[in-house]
Amino acid sequence: MSNLIITNLSKTYSNGVQALNNVSLEIRTGMFGLLGPNGAGKSSLMRTIATLQEADGGTITLGDIDVLNQKHEVRQQLGYLPQEFGVYPKVSAEVLLNHLAILKGITRKSYRKEVVKALLDKTNLYEARKKNLGGYSGGMKQRFGIAQALLSDPKLIIVDEPTAGLDPAERNRFYNLLCELGENTVVILSTHIVDDVKELCTNMAIINRGKVLLQGNPLKAIDQLAGKVYRKTIEKSELEAYRKEYTVIADKLLLGKPMIQILSEHDPGDGFRPFEAQLEDVYFSQIFGNTPYHKSA
């Protein structure tokens, strides 16, 4: 299976926002998680890989394919589920999926019928296949989205924040589906839910402000923080003081009281207790640990 290699990818929008700043990534078969806060550049990166956006500089290759210039070849192997999408309200799932299947090149009718049927079944939409998409719930719509992305046996699947708006049960079903695919396909999943990545992905990258902050296996990333995370419950008024003194990577509420987590090479004492590092800590340490503190997440 061919790897997706991104080298020095940059993009600045016409309004001056730098969406991608020298991004380099190597993505192999399997689930790849792309973590980052809103506006970090995840969608820009994914759209660029999905041939929907141009880059100012850098290259992307998928095996032998130059993604930025051989758009058609990429699209033939691509399954893409955008972050936000609509549907034609007056068309049924079966009709639209059939339509998209033809556009994906599955022009043999008998085969296409089978594929459409199987995908609707796989995404649990078979019973509702005759129903107009206008009447679909958010979850059903999202599953329809994945069904279309799976048409034509894609080698590269890009799903952009696919679980937004799904209830926990639907989310689980959805991830199970993705996991199956990750066995022999490149699946890129973007999310800002840290646990999702931990549960699903063999590899991941954290990006913020268009830059890749960390790339690697989630468990290994957690290992690197092992024994370095401490937490303490504090008074609200003390927060600023702690921030000045320690590398605060998270502040949240525990039973109504502020609680902070810090990053420290050794036990800081001062009432801090060691805490088992989570992927979330990796994430926050990357986002806030290495950059001037701005705002709580």
Binding site: E54, K90, I102, A118, A128, D153
Partner: protein
Amino acid sequence: MWYAIFKFEIQYRAKRLETYIYFIILFLFSIIAVDFFLQGSLNTAKANAPHVIAKTMAIVAAIFMMLSSMIMGVAVLRDFAHRIESILFVKPITKAAYLSGRFLGSFAVLIFIFCALPLGMMLGEFVPWREDADLLAFNSWHYLQPFFLVVLPSLFFGGSVFFVSGALSRKLIVVYTQGIFFVVVYILTLVMSRGLDDQFFASLLDPFCFTTIDGLIQFWTPLERNTNLLPIAGVMLYNRLLWVLIGAVVLVIGYFSFSFNVVKNGLFKKHAKETKNAETRSTDMISVESLPKYDAESRVNVLAKQLMQSTIFYFKSILKETSFWAIVLCAMIIIFVNSINLGTTFGVDSYPRTYLIVEELQELSLIFFFIILVFFSGELIWKERDAKVDLIYDALPTNDFINLAGKFFGLLLTYFVLILGLILSGVLFQTVSGYYQFELDVYFMAFFVGVFPFLMLFSVVSFFFQVISNRKFMGHILVVTFFLFTMMLEAFGYSHGLYKFGGDALATYSDMNGYGHFLTSYSWVKVYWMAFAVMLFLVAVLFSVRGTETRLKTRWAIGKLRLTKPIVNLGLLAFAVFTFSGGYIFYNINVVNDYFSPSSQEAYRVNYEKTLKQYEYMAQPKIVDVMLQAELYPSDRNYEVEGHFILENTHNEAISIIHVQKLIDSQIALKEIQFEGGASMTDEHEDFGYYMYELNKPLLPGDSLKMSFTQTFTTSGFVERGANTQIVNNGTFYNVDHFPTFGYNSKYELRDNDVRDGYGLEPRKTRADINDARELVNARTGGDGYEINFEIVIGTDSSQVALAPGKLQKTWTEQGRSYFHYKSDNPMINFYSIVSADYEVMRDQWHPHDETAKAVDLEIYYHKGHDYNLDRMMNGMKKSFDYFDTHFSPYQYQQMRIMEFPRYAAYAQSFPNTVPYSESLGFIMDIDDDEDVGMPFFITAHELAHQWWGLQVIAANVQGRYMLLESLAQYSALMVMKEEFPAEKVHQILKNEQDRYLLGRANEANREMPLSLVEGSKYIHYGKGALSMYAFQDYVSEDSVNMALRRFISDWNGFGGKLQTDRYATTKDLLGYFSEVTPDSLQYVIEDLFETITLYENETTAVDYEVIAANEFKVELTVDAIKYRRDSLGVESAIQINDWIDIGVYAEGEDGEDELIYLEKHKITDQMTSLEIVVNQKPTKAGIDPLHKLIDRNRKDNIKEFEFL
């Protein structure tokens, strides 16, 4: 709160570029609006006369109502489109504040944009091509008054409707399609007005005021037209108030219906159905993984199937739109609403021949096609993005060309639906009318060959603009602007197929000649533009947005990647076809044939005049004998004529140089000119076809010589437009004008005096002065004609019959061609035509009163199937001959033939014993003998009367000529009508003629002339001619008029008349005979009717009656009569009345209809006159001049009904 929303709306618009672009487009358009819409119909009105400004503003406001939909329609809709309604509606604002703020805010913006209209028009006064002579002094009130009176109420009404429909439906397309309902409402008002005598309702109900303005100014004199502002009173005021009121009602309804909730319900759409959560997994499923690997089809197959799929998908998506079906339905209905008016001439309908129905359908459906084209092309281009599935679509491995082409073909299929709908309604209409010759081929040809190519071309343009502008509204505006621009080029005469987008429309269809030869040039021009469209389409493909990049520069960068080999090849192919067809068209139009742009044509005429005017009136011989041997080749549209003239010197001096003028037409070649006794060419102006021959031996006075020549007419290649319609495949009709004439011919001179002035030429007289000695000896302009002997042999295709004046001597076939030899038994004027077509014949005879005279053969040559009115025409011929033979003089020939010719022209024309008669004029009229005027009968009688007026009496080519020809023919035909039909029919004709006259004089561009000095205005010699002659015989009796005419013809007959003069007859001569038969007391009538322009303003102000005894009623009425006279300066003023005028009383007749029980002339000497009349029946109405014999601008008030208490 209200103010905040109002302000927000204005600020929002102020920040949008569109607002300013709309303003600028409207502004620029307004500068040329007057020229654009009203050029050619202004006549005496100045380009900035108040009513011209008002009318232009009304039209522009109607057309740009679209802007109104874009500003007002989206004011509320926008919140839904951007999905911020949930945020907005929970804010503490009231519905009233929200709606009124939005409405007033966007209305203010709309008014701002429309301020461009008066501003642009004001600037239009100062553009260089406007000449001061065409303008009144600048007056800003002339612009502001109609802006407030006409434009603002229309905007308010339109804006209200768009605003409310947008707010309630929350769908853009619903807002757009409102426009259709405007059109339907408008056409309905027009239709309603036709049935009614007065236009009050149409004027009241016209939302844009077109009819209202036209109705108001219809009979205004030029002076009034240039000074009066539209009155803010009467129907104008009611109209405006009505539409403002309707707008207000719509707003109120909108307010109460608008739901200030996020979830829309009621009015337009049902609740979304409850989601059924049955998502159980079925058992017999194959999983995706277990499917075999897909084996893709060949690339070509895949692309073809994808194209097919997309096409059908997009086609179906439009079919799902209710608005689409609303458009189709409206278009289908409109033919039924409008058809009352099918081919009306004098209120008579034609049979619903398929081509007439098709033409009506084409004209009426244009707007519907255009709406579909403009709006649905935008919807299709934006379909994915509007539904937000664009990112999914764009990442699919589809070809960019296929994507766009699918949408394009999908759109084309929707045109098919509308076309089939229209054809269906056309066929239904024919069926309902009891007409069953459907001729589906004519329907299909007209729509698929005549309309469809334009739809394709403009759809490509629309796609192009949508893609390039990448803004839906902007795309719409650009398409409409482009369309108007194309029309403007045409309006200014720039119509060459190589640069007028799409080229010309398909030419007129004729039952006789089909589409004739016009298809060739039509097809080539279409091929050329199709190739252009393919290139344009490819550019659109390259620039089409895929993904999130919308900047043109980036799109071009992406577009370059799309330049695949097939795309490049297709582009090159299109370019090759474009170049080749363009070259071929240019070769045909400009090289093989002569192409004249409007300016080069003017220059040519100017040169002709400047070079050759010196030879005008130089003594030239007259033709006295014509012998022609004509070979027609209808299928090639060629002819060859060998002929000779005998020329006689009728002057007192010898003629040594003969000036031969060939008809200026590049298709005609004149060769082998030879003069008896020899001659040599001394000078030639090949450009003008003007050759001078010096005779070896001068032609002495009274002597004659023979001139022989060969003339050919050759059709090669094709021309842009104005292709000859005379020499055609079936229905050739050309006349003496084709043959050589002698000396300078003033018919080539430029006519428009303004244009002449620009070239430094003297103003041209329309007609020579009645005393102009040089023209008194001419019968026609460039008159080299004289009384001639005529003989012709015509050869034509064996399927056709060829006809010319004269008695048929012999007919034979030779080498598969038919030959006809005609010879005139007696001399005739130098005026003949040659006709050839595939004819059916109807024959009959008419026997003169003089038992010793030979019977006259009557023949009608008609196109197979056009036999509806042959009996009426035949009867018309017989009755006319009866009347004219009895009252004027004997008929001079032994035969009379009517020949049908194709409807490229719509007239009938009288030549010696032959009358070519247009296909569109009478042959297919559907005449109801009870209700309609028998127009074929009347026209036949009129043309036959010319056998006397024109062919016996020859009128001199001076002022008044057409009174002798046309007014007398009108009179003669009316008298035949009067004998044959009830009086109502005659009055119906007279009423039409009176309208023709009043409308004609209101639009007279120059000075109106009295009838006896008419210079060539049809409204005078036909319209007023009929009225005045009818009134004259009413005063002095029909017998007296006929006696005068009998004496006139006996003296002035060009063939053996008693008076042998050296000049032709004039109206002065005729009026002399009239005077002789008129009693002294009525001599003033001749002055009023013929020598001056005299009008009346007659009104009955009060009527009453009392019962004197059983069957005895005393009617008292008061009449107000004013007599106007127009002086030589064109000023109308009241003069002393001392006239005999009809007074009439009506009662209820046996059949319940009004019956005239009293009609007598009373001498009216004062403006206000009270009269008492005793009648023997209970009167219902009474009044002055009830039959409208006198010319009166306001006829409605002549009669008054009795009020019963």
